[in-house]
Symmetry: C2
Subunit: 201 residues, 2 copies
């Protein structure tokens, strides 16, 4: 193929996360074959890029028309400042909100520590978290990073910083996911489910 | 979440083919968090939308700076006009080219007949194909639509139109894919492999 702008488009789409070369070709074709849909997509993307900012406190998205403001959760007087739930990304926050199990404040790190990807503590929103714990009446920090090697490393790093500050540092429970089958659970999950077993009430 | 432009972006991405809601959230986050990469992607997409046109004969992409021209394959004197290989989409053409098994001309339909999606013969490049067969010295039309229900319907429809025109109408062989295992082949593929069996040379 000597069609440069087609090849460039496919390779640009392949660089997006989780998209392989076949999927990229399919998307490229769709974007070129549906000009109306593509115009709408580009409008929505541009609006989102213009309007969305980050809450300067928790790091969640906030819709803005100029000056940065706290998000609605950080401004909500019904959510106490005693508990901060630390998550990697906005999607984690949304999933926890859907569970309705947590009613405190959040803190979005914006990623995890990763030697491989060159992400160090200065790349995450850790200083803002320390400031919040120091200046607000925080009693508990729940580390809700993902149960992955990098999530673990990040949680361990944060715990070592936060514990000396006199705050209770907790972690989400590990174990069998609801609705799963023991037969098909991986060994690490099973080991953690045994280790974390509770009294049967 | 009350963040409208975020929700709009995620739902616009979900409308793209093959992308579910989780993947859409991941892509939305990526596009917002990597402004430099996103700028580059938008540039490449805009260039492709501007520069790419369709070859008026075969329907493949052709890079243009104004007036529409035949693509390099349609202009290639080493490719005879005797054989036309009819494919659904540009990606099929590219896959066949990679196989180096066909050296004639192509014809991209731009889809398949689909009652479900409301795609009729007038939505595909069928009239141009008929014109080519009528006006050029075509001896064989190879129907290389996909081995799906819709691909079959489209091939049957085309064969009924083309056969009376005195042209030989053929179909790609069905059977076991190279490197596959009989044990795991589906029953239709196996039935077709038996039906289409050849003498062992």
């Amino acid at each position: 193929m000597s069609i440069k702008s087609w090849l460039n488009l496919v390779s640009a789409i392949t660089r997006l996360p989780g998209i392989g070369p076949k999927m990229a070709e399919r998307l490229a074709l769709y974007l070129l074959r549906h000009p109306g849909e593509t115009d709408r997509f580009l409008n929505v993307l541009n609006t989102a890029r213009e309007k969305l900012a980050y809450c300067p406190q928790c790091g969640d998205f906030v819709e803005t028309d100029g000056s940065p403001a706290l998000c609605h959760r950080c401004q909500d007087p019904d959510r106490g400042n005693e508990q901060i739930c630390v998550v990697e990304e906005v999607g984690d926050l949304q999933a926890l909100e859907r569970s309705r199990a947590f009613h405190g404040k959040y803190h979005v790190l914006g990623g995890v520590l990763s030697a491989l990807d060159g992400v160090g503590p200065e790349d995450l929103r850790i200083n803002v978290l320390i400031k919040r714990v120091k200046e607000q009446s925080v009693r508990e920090v729940i580390l809700a990073t993902n149960p992955t090697a990098e999530g673990e490393t990040t949680a361990t790093y944060l715990a070592e910083i936060l514990r000396p500050m006199g705050v209770s540092v907790t972690r989400l429970a590990y174990g069998l996911p609801s609705g799963s089958a023991i037969q098909y659970a991986d060994e690490f999950t099973l080991a953690q489910a045994v280790e974390g077993r509770r009294h049967f009430n």
